[in-house]
Symmetry: C2
Subunit: 770 residues, 2 copies
């Protein structure tokens, strides 16, 4: 077990004391965002220590020229990246001419608090300046959940030990770059500075993609809590604008700058006049004032927690972990814009470029489906449907035509960005997760309209892909799928990955079933769909059925397990216990070929399939596979422990499920994978949510009913969560004795717990004893 | 069949007419070299058209910072490249103030002749200048085979149509760069120019590696064949030096510049004073004069041809092809320096960085063994033995220790340069070819001293590698080798590549045999070796024997073939005839994943094994495999058709062997793979030699005898070649009726042809009838 670096608290992440070696880590942990934008927890004042500056705007990306060692036919030319946007947090401070810089000043006290209930970041610290004066600083900021284009900072300085001169300069800075720029290029151009009174905006345009972003600020000076009418000095350059307040300070006097920021982009506004629009917005914010903006912001967070909190009693460590996950998931994606998606690191780092991976459908989708109105999950489906044309192009570039689609491994706008052949071309199971999300949405919401139109368009295109990507083996007299990489990326270019083969036939079957339903129930929709997709119903579905019937799945009958892929049993069948602790994580210590030929698994693969398709297998089969694979899984993907935790809980292996839960819930807080400095694992945070709700809570949708089969870890007194079924929220509480299910919606909800079925009326609850 | 672009001629490559679209191709084809250095056939005068400037010095390399898309543990930091060295060919020409530039002047006539017998490049062309004058230019150059640090150019201009002013400026230019520089860096630094009278040298040092190269020139002006005493203007800069001759020309007068060049490097000279040493050498050359230098050079080439020519009567196309191959092989490597090796493109291009690949042992080794004194092949073995320590380090980085060696995939100095995991870490069969070369050397030369010392050190280290790289499969109850790439690089990361498994056990067996021989015949050597390699004789050889006895080889008993790897028969078993011609070559038209999962083979793989280890298999087995694999081989590696040609000839399939022979012999002349502009396929040229000698000639060493089993293509009247056995050259001539074997050595040679065995005395010949 790792030693937590932060104080355990149910609602807060508290860093007590300044640790120069961990500044990058804390910049990730304490990041703020509101779905529209986000920032790493960089300091307002100058900081010459270790830092990765990061300000990001959802959907504003740059197609960075790609970098490869050896080009392979089919590689895309660029890798889209959410870029480091103009920074709005800066407030330079000079005390008696000396720059305030935590890397240089003597620090007497330092505390940083992320208040997850309120969505605020509070930093308070005391330093001694070289002239012996002591300065106490309190920096308080938030990015508004109520008004997604607004942020505010209150930055106060109280100097004791004498009087003197204080300069504070809030500013906007567009001279920013991405650390991960492949060729050190600048991603922004044509910056323009507009000043209006003491407000200013900096407008910049992204190269190539032409997104225009206006970042404006208005600011005020306050002394001992009162507004001071002061005309600050305006400081501007090509790519920055600031207002410098120079003032005398009295001994013990508190001087505060309040900075109101608005960030507007051409995703939501006309580019023409966006500078003045941003300034107007900043001025509106200043006239509302920090306190009112903050109250509205906290109100919005209250709403979120009211509908999305998970409460665990008796285990602060677990409670803090799950809230940290829910908090960051809500900061990253609000689900109102089908052009947006969830980058694996959200707004907390550059890695993975803020692009969309299969993480969305495989992990985040279940969270959004349950904690938000159903239009949010539908927007995630629309995102992919909007990219269908490009996915068809993508498949055709790989030689797979006739309307077949391969959705990209990594994408911003539907175009493939990734450039490792074993991933880009081979990790095709992503198509399966995208199909599965349509199924999941449909069974969860009961909304069949989506399936009837866009849903089936996507399903048909994916089915066509599987039908061409497999081939008939004369030798085996079976269909096989050669040359793939499964979810376990510690294997590359394998034949017959069980998970992939399984998800392929699952998709084919679900597509046929859905088509047959449409044909008989909505013949007009069926005709329209057949026309728009050039579907040859009989010919195509017959082939699909043949593939379903004759697909090959690797397995070992002797051991009673499915094999991750052909040849898996030829490996040395060691377990994680055989590993030398100093050699872990393997991906930082072993050469790549050694990892590949070893038995060790990066993340759930067969187990991922048994998680998705649990209903197809009996408990004994699942247990045999889990007992074989879990001891060989090193969980070096953040996406892994949550799924193993769910499956362990379903198998009633509660201790193992709990251990895996803590690993997923506190992955970043305790930095299990030694990489939190690069950003948080946002998408895998949704897995943590699944670990509680689908794992411990045992939630499933079976036969149009909301089912629970809860267990509870030994150290927990109780836990509660809210899920949605048919868009009706239901509150569930589990303790050692019973489970209470309360319908907090306006419609009836059919529930099944421990085998007893009941329909719960709105406002009513029911208690089930084990 | 492709239409040859050059005139068919037994000894010459003739390009008639200037083709601007093919300038890059011809720069490769007409390249000159002498083992010590080489140049592409760039023009002396300025040329603003398509060109890739290339001047290279053997062994002078630069460790270019590597480039990868996604870093994998174990990758090397750099890729060593033979770098573009200071250029010495330049002669700027101005006629009446107008620059001579074939991309701009009107060309009336153009011819370029590579005289392979003499090793000279002659370019003659006539242009019309804008003032209406006609200029006939003859540029004649060579890089001396007699004095490896010397080159000379005669460049004459005859202008008709009036009188005027001619300026000719021979110069040395160190402002050169590599087109394949990964980050656009310059590879040279600290250039220094020294002028001494009308001679000059430019000295430059490579960055990081610190090689110092001095390139000097002396030049003279001649009018109508007579030396003119003229003091030229000296033109120097930071990185170049030239001497400009400005002279009046008469109508029809011939003015000629003779440029004498010396290139000295710190590989062979002290860096201090190297500038004056180079100037002295250039001055010695000028005092000898062009004609005498040329005669000596031609004499050296006569020697080479006398011992290394292959004469084919009745087929000019085939004759020209093989001479082109032999010519370039001799230009690339002379075998006197064990620090040098044979880059796949020699001195004809930048691709593959001039580094060493398994090509050397698998292809070039047999050529050198047969056409040169045995110290040349021994130098190639020494090259690897000198790198043994680094190969042991390399294996240990991959987690394979205990004195095991993995020789690098690509190297300059023993350190791995390549950075694709599926090649760098997995194409481990290279170790087998290095072991095989030791065996080949020993059986060919009879020299067992090398085996007794360095040979066995290398064999033990490779055997240790195989012993750890395989693992016991509990499932199969066999040893398996997982995660490899075989010679066919159109498959990556496969299990149980038949060729690799076979070469692994072959190495183990040969090592055990050699150790047992040493133990019983030279016990003192054995003790010394056991000590120096920390050999645990019993334990290690027992394990090796166990692996030999229980290795798994994939095969299909029904078809009676060996399988290239596990799962090969699951593919769609198409043949090359099923391919759409427009989609070839596949590597330029198909996406990489499609290539990988297709049945199509880039180069000999199982067939390569049946070539190396022919004696282990009966003819029927070889035929069944050849009939299965040859129709599925697209030969998109230059190394492939030659080996298939040898095996086809051995199977008496002469038509197929001949077709494959032409493809390998004329690969570059006819540009089969559409890439000759990048450079010639030097190492595969040795395969062409093997195709004639081991294929048609049926040469083998069996039981310490030189055996032939010749066949002859239908269109050939006869062919002859010289091979060495026990370092004794033997001349062989084959026609439709008989084979004549003449011992041109000083020792006896035991020969076996068509089953009859005879010992041929020095100077005697013997005729065998079929």
């Amino acid at each position: 077990m790792l030693q937590p670096r932060f104080i355990l608290d149910e609602w807060k992440i508290i860093e007590a004391g300044f640790e120069p070696d961990y500044t990058l880590d804390s910049e990730s942990i304490f990041a703020l965002g509101n779905g529209m934008m986000g920032t790493r927890a960089n300091f307002e004042e100058k900081f010459s220590g270790n830092t990765m500056q990061g300000t990001y705007i959802a959907g504003v990306y740059y197609p960075d020229k790609t970098i490869v060692g050896w080009w392979k036919n089919g590689y895309p030319d660029y890798f889209a990246k959410v870029l480091n946007a103009p920074s709005w947090i800066g407030i330079d401070v000079e005390i008696d001419g000396e720059t305030l810089d935590l890397a240089k000043c003597k620090i007497l006290k330092f505390e940083r608090v992320l208040n997850m209930k309120q969505g605020t970041l509070l930093r308070s610290f005391t330093v001694m300046m070289t002239n012996g004066r002591t300065a106490e600083i309190i920096a308080h900021r938030f990015i508004s959940m109520a008004d997604p284009e607004t942020a505010a900072i209150s930055y106060s300085v109280r100097i004791t030990g004498g009087t003197g001169k204080l300069s504070m300069m809030p500013y906007i800075n567009a001279n920013v770059h991405n650390e991960d720029s492949n060729y050190g290029e600048k991603f922004w151009e044509d910056t323009q500075v507009t000043v209006n009174g003491s407000s200013a905006s900096v407008v910049a345009r992204t190269r190539k993609t032409g997104f225009v972003v206006a970042t404006a600020m208005a600011s005020e000076l306050r002394a001992d809590g009162k507004h001071v009418t002061a005309l600050p000095e305006i400081v501007t350059g090509n790519d920055h604008a600031g207002t410098r307040f120079i003032t005398s300070y009295g001994d013990g006097q508190t001087l505060e700058v309040r900075k109101y920021v608005s960030v507007l982009s051409s995703l939501h506004h006309e580019a023409a006049g966006i500078d003045m629009k941003a300034i107007d917005a900043a001025n509106r914010a200043i006239s509302e004032g920090f306190d009112i903006l903050l109250v509205k912001h906290i109100d919005s967070w209250n709403d979120i927690w009211e509908h999305g909190d998970i409460v665990i009693r008796g285990d602060v460590e677990a409670q803090q972990g799950i809230r940290f996950n829910i908090f960051h998931l809500n900061q990253t994606y609000t689900g109102e814009d089908p052009r947006l998606n969830i980058g694996p690191k959200g707004f907390t780092g550059e890695k993975y470029g803020g692009s969309t991976y299969w993480d969305t459908e495989a992990f985040v989708f279940g969270f959004d489906l349950n904690t938000r109105d159903s239009h949010v999950a539908r927007n995630l489906l629309k995102y992919r449907h909007n990219h269908l044309g490009k996915a068809i192009e993508n498949a055709s570039r790989l030689g797979i035509g006739k309307g077949a689609a391969l959705f990209p491994m990594v994408t911003m706008n539907g175009e493939e960005c990734h450039n490792e052949w074993e991933i880009t071309f081979e990790e095709i199971h992503r198509n399966g997760a995208i199909a599965y999300a349509i199924f999941n949405y449909t069974r969860h919401t009961g909304d069949r309209d989506y399936l009837a139109g866009p849903g089936l368009e996507v399903l048909i295109a994916i089915s066509r892909f599987w039908a061409q990507r497999c081939n008939w083996s004369v030798h085996r007299k079976k269909f096989v799928i050669l040359g793939v990489t499964g979810p376990n990326e510690y294997e590359n270019n394998v034949n017959n990955n069980w998970y992939t083969n399984k998800m392929a036939t699952w998709t084919l079957r679900y597509t046929i079933e859905s088509l047959n339903w449409l044909k008989s129930e909505r013949p007009a929709d069926f005709s329209r769909l057949a026309l728009s997709t050039s579907l040859e119903y009989s010919g195509e579905t017959e082939l699909w059925q043949k593939i379903i019937d004759q697909m090959y799945y690797p397995e070992c009958s002797e051991r009673g397990i499915f094999l991750q892929q052909d040849g898996f049993l030829d490996k040395e069948l060691k377990t994680v216990d055989d590993l030398i602790p100093a050699e872990r994580p393997l991906n930082q210590n072993w050469s790549w070929d050694r990892i590949l030929r070893s038995v060790f698994i990066k993340q759930a693969d067969v187990i991922q399939g048994l998680y998705f398709l649990a209903d197809e297998f009996d408990e004994k089969t699942i247990r045999r596979n889990f007992d074989f694979y879990e001891p060989r899984c090193v969980h070096e993907s953040s996406l892994s422990p949550s799924i193993h935790s769910v499956v362990a809980a379903r198998l009633n292996d509660i201790d193992r499920a709990y251990k895996l839960y803590l690993r997923t819930a506190r992955l970043d807080l305790d930095d299990y994978n030694k990489e939190v400095r690069e950003g948080l694992h946002i998408t895998s945070m949704a897995g943590t949510w699944l670990a509680i709700v689908e794992g411990f809570g045992g939630m499933k949708i079976v036969s149009d009913k909301l089912c629970f089969n809860p267990v509870i870890p030994a150290s927990w007194e109780s836990y509660s969560f809210i899920v949605r079924f048919r868009n009706n929220p239901v509150k569930v509480e589990v303790n050692g004795k019973y489970i209470s299910v309360k319908n907090i919606a306006t419609g009836e909800v059919p529930v099944a717990v421990f085998g007893s079925e009941i329909v719960i009326a709105p406002g009513k609850d029911h208690i089930f004893y084990k």
